[in-house]
Amino acid sequence: MAQSSETNKNETSVGAIAVKVDDLTVAYNYKPVLWDIDLEIPEGVLMAIVGPNGAGKSTLIKSILGILKPIAGSVEIFGKPYEKQRQIVAYVPQKGSVDWDFPTTALDVVTMGTYGSLGWIKRPGQKEKKAALEALEKVGMLPFKNRQISQLSGGQQQRIFLARALVQNASIYFMDEPFQGVDATTEIAIINILKELRKAGKTVIVVHHDLQTVPEYFDWVTFLNVKKIATGPVKDIFNDDNLTKTYGINYKVSIQE
């Protein structure tokens, strides 16, 4: 685990729990997709959620964020329900979940990240626009600010989504497959930003597909397949045993270290 997050923890309360999930069960049409999940995510980690297709990875994030209603269980963000902590949580949905032909520009999409702090009715002003431009700069998309979003490549669209989360200036970031369909350059750019966030003491939770890159990118990992298989530091629990338990077959992955 990175030393920087250790020092950060000492500054705040030692071993603070950023996200606590208790007995969470979620079902689509009475078919459970998450069974009795107990999960504690410590503050300041960069965590991957891994598991096969249909394991409920996106569902877990969506239920933590109150987008889906669980049939049982509870979620706490720094000891309080999510509804009270919206301001400190940012969310990057899957790129495919929105219509990129929507008539709007890159800058406008990033500005949407400021809507949460504005609340109902109040409109974004100069301050919000400035924050959005800064976030665009951070992801290297400033030259494209007025580009219609359908005119952006897949990697650029993903950067726009990341900028929209950055503008929220949250403490916890949830990201649903931010590396899906992006080129190598964008993947490196994104992971560098995520590592920067962790360095700044933020907690970053990422639904991730590429098992090869887990040890390189992340310091914390949760194995999920309808039930929670394991959670903890990558160096302790990212092993063939847990991979086999999660993916059901005798899974071998060469860990590059």
Partner: protein, 386 residues
Amino acid sequence: MSNAQIEIQLIASLVAIACAIPGTFLVLRKMAMISDAISHSILPGIVIGFFITQDLNSPLLILLAALTGIITVVLVEYIQKTGLVKEDTAIGLVFPILFSIGVIMIAKNANDVHLDVDAVLLGELAFAPFDRLIIAGLDVGPKSLWIIGSILIITIGLLLAFFKELKVSTFDAGLSAALGFSPAVIHYGLMTVSSVTTVGAFDAVGAILVVALMIAPAATAYLLTNELKRMLIYAICFGVFSAIAGYWLAHVLDASIAGSITTMLGLLFLVVYLFAPRKGIIAVMYREKQQRTEVSLLTFLLHLKNHSEERERHVNHLNEHINWQKVRSKTVLDLALKNNMIQFDKNIVSLTEKGEQFTSQAIDYIITNQDNKIEHMKDDFFLFRG
């Protein structure tokens, strides 16, 4: 123009604006068919409201009918949620049933209700000026004008207040929920406005035109702009234009006003569909043709780059070597010359410095797919615009 004529055009224009606003969001939410369902299934609400109030223009009737509209949406979503039928099927099941309940109620009480099915479908805009609103003995104008005017003011007020919420929940419902703007609240808010507008416009323009006024202007505007605010403004302009032009078309043809307005909406859409600068059919076909030519150009340049032998680059042998027909070869050669990418030296073609550079960059882009390197070429070449 007589007073009645002005009043009819004014009513039609206000209806057009009131419809274009929710219509824009319905189109973006891919819910166009819901407006069709609402416009038909409010009929029983109107009939029941009329039994109670005995006044087609009473606000209570409008609310009752709008409630039927909301019930339609709830029923459609409920049936869909069971997973047994798809959404379009659910819509097709719900609204004809509610509509026919309304039709039967009218037929059974024909003596009490001055509604007939023709008027319900096509409206009676021409008669709107005859039904006046009299306050303290003073004639303040047609009732329809006041009704649709009030609805329009409320709609504009809601739009201004909740524009940001409507935008984010339409674009990204997940983010909207995470930020605390309940997509369900906004969804039902929009459905309520759509229902109230439909009822308010119904008496004047009928069930079919209401759908056309909601969907056609927004669909037309969608082809012309990449910005939500502009799309709203364009949709409003198209709606008003069709309303007024349609009125005069009906005047000239001595035909139904509702029918003529709908015809104008259709014609306007057709024109934009064909000629819109970026998304129109002709623009798309032109772009595809240009892209094909540019791919050929690149193939040709690559051929020149890869072959230093003179026989491969002799102007008379190019056709055989690249295996193209004369017309295509000529188009490609012209394009290359126009961009100073090739030069001739005694009928031997070779790349200029610019041609060399362009070829390397283009190939590099195709291999790496890195957009930032070719940003400056996007304006000149369709090939790089995705």
